[in-house]
């Protein structure tokens, strides 16, 4: 669907994207994560044909963006919430886009309704709030009813209400079977809507995985508390379970499951006061992975 192959982009001496490769799966919501300055926006702009790669390529449905026959009817993009002429009304902004792409004017009214912007459509876009601008951007992206959406930090600067609206809106778009590739550094937002994530750092690929897999990978292990901690430790080590640390009655185990530890303890008659799998959020996973990358 979207494929980035050995992509490198240099701006003079700065390497914004460094030999980056990944694929975005069809019909999935894929998050594109990385700290500020990681190269997310540059990558998205290369995908959309706005920035020329120094090396490698990025294709959409096997073709460069500029080779797509009806690009806005195949790919919708939201890049910045301020890409409007401040003196042009929201409705006219969409009419201009429709005129450039041969989309009928009636579609403008339809899409204004979809993003709930009919009431303000006659007002100049320069007077819109950030939330309204994001809606207008989304309306522009959806004008051609594309199957693929590329969104660059769409939640940036939105208030909690706006973020909630956006989340629900994206869910409804995904339910229609669209492929959504969404970048963000607001990780808590992505965690609730994405199926998969691609993480980059300093322009380089870090990992691509499902959110569940990623969280599990970065999970903090097992925490076991027992008044017989020494006996438990011995039993676990005998069973080949590595104890990462022990402090008083608390043991931390890196590569084990709660079931495994519970069974070993029961077999040896060891009392357990606590047995917990440390949970991790996508944010923790992200911080963990990017800090690993930084260290290496």
């Amino acid at each position: 669907m979207i494929e980035v192959e050995s992509l490198t982009k240099r701006f003079r001496k700065t390497v914004a994207v460094d030999d980056l490769s990944f694929k975005v799966r069809e019909g999935a919501i894929t998050g594109f994560l990385g700290p500020n300055g990681a190269g997310k926006t540059t990558t998205l702009r290369v995908i959309l044909g706005l920035v020329h790669p120094t090396a490698g390529k990025a294709t959409v449905m096997g073709r460069l963006y500029r080779q797509l026959e009806s690009p806005t009817q195949q790919v919708g993009a939201v890049l910045e919430a301020s890409d409007f002429h401040p003196g042009r009304s929201g409705r006219n902004h969409l009419r201009v886009l429709a005129a450039a792409t041969g989309i009928p004017r009636s579609r403008v009214e339809e899409i204004l309704e979809v993003v709930d912007l009919q009431g303000a459509a006659g007002r100049r876009a320069g007077g819109y709030s950030l939330g309204m601008r994001q809606r207008l951007s989304l309306a522009g992206a959806l004008l051609g009813d594309p199957g693929i959406l590329v969104l660059d930090e769409p939640a940036n600067g939105l208030d909690p209400q706006g973020i909630r609206w956006l989340r629900e809106f994206l869910r409804s778009l995904a339910a229609e079977g669209r492929t959504i590739f969404i970048s963000s550094h607001v990780l808590a937002e992505l965690e609730q809507i994405v199926d998969e994530v691609v993480i980059i750092h300093r322009g380089k690929f870090v990992v691509q995985a499902s959110t569940a897999e990623l969280v599990a990978r970065a999970a903090g292990g097992i925490r076991a508390r027992s008044p017989q901690a020494d006996q438990l430790r011995a039993a676990l080590e005998q069973a080949g379970v590595k104890v990462a640390s022990s402090e008083g009655d608390l043991l931390t185990l890196a590569d084990a499951t709660t079931a495994q530890v519970g069974e070993i303890a029961a077999a040896k008659g060891i009392v357990l006061h606590e047995l917990v799998a440390e949970s991790s959020s996508l944010e923790e996973a992200f911080l963990d992975l990017t800090s690993q990358d930084e260290a290496s």
């Binding site: 701006f11 540059t42 959309l48 706005l50 920035v51 409007f84 003196g87 009419r95 005129a99 792409t101």
Partner: protein, 242 residues
């Protein structure tokens, strides 16, 4: 044609700047027309060049069409809307060609009232007099005015498209035409035949001994368009939109 229509819609739906330019242009033309006619009717016989002066009164439009050319090229970069334009039409050469077309159409729309206003006023004021004759030669001058306006609009457009920064492009165009060219022509008289300003005079059919011929001027201006256009196309195609 679809892209040209979209470009014209952009101008139409954010008309403040264009309206300001149009009103300024008409105010200047109106003042010039009234002053010319007022001074002419004081003489018992109208000056023989009056009809020519009326026909070329709208020449001020050329300055404004040059600026409109620059603005059509640079406004989208200024407001960031060029991103959406290139997303809708990723083959940038097509966008540039459409914008060039829009600049030419805008130049006609700006030149039309600037040429008609003095003709209509003169028609009302002195049209009934036997010594006022506005005929084929004058209409030819008017036609040349439209041609000149289209040529300078494209020159302004290509400079704007190459520089992309609006203020910089406006300053460069004005400095070039108002200061640099006259200075160059003064210091090196041999260059005059190849400068934009004197050749616009040639296209418009200015009177005077040192005005280049229409054919020469048209060829020189087309030469400028080819070079500036090529630069604009290459830079626009290679430019990263960040």
């Amino acid at each position: 044609m679809r892209l040209v229509a979209a470009e014209l819609l952009k101008v139409w739906t954010a008309p403040r700047t264009l309206l300001g330019i149009l009103l300024s242009e008409l105010a200047i033309v109106l003042i010039g027309t009234i002053a010319t006619l007022h001074s002419a009717v004081n003489d018992p016989v109208l000056p023989p060049h009056l009809s020519r002066d009326i026909a070329t009164m709208g020449g001020i439009a050329l300055l404004f069409t040059t600026l409109v050319g620059v603005l059509i090229a640079t406004t989208e970069y200024r407001h960031g809307t060029i991103t959406l334009t290139f997303l809708a039409a990723p083959v940038r050469e097509k966008v540039l060609a459409a914008k060039t077309g829009a600049a030419v159409i805008a130049s006609v729309l700006l030149t039309l009232p600037a040429t008609l206003l003095p003709i209509v006023i003169a028609g009302i004021w002195v049209g009934g007099r036997a010594d006022y004759h506005f005929g084929g030669h004058e209409w030819q001058l008017v036609a040349r005015l439209f041609l000149g306006a289209a040529l300078v609009a494209m020159i302004g457009f290509f400079i704007g498209a190459s520089l992309k920064r609006q203020l910089g492009a406006v300053i460069l165009v004005l400095a070039w035409l108002v200061f640099l060219e006259p200075a160059l022509g003064g210091l090196f008289p041999g260059t005059k035949d190849y400068l934009i300003g004197p050749n616009i005079g040639g296209v418009l059919g200015d009177s005077g001994n040192d005005v280049p011929s229409f054919g020469h001027s048209f060829a020189v201006l087309v030469g400028y368009l080819v070079v500036l256009g090529a630069v604009a196309f290459v830079l626009t195609r290679r430019r990263d939109v960040t």
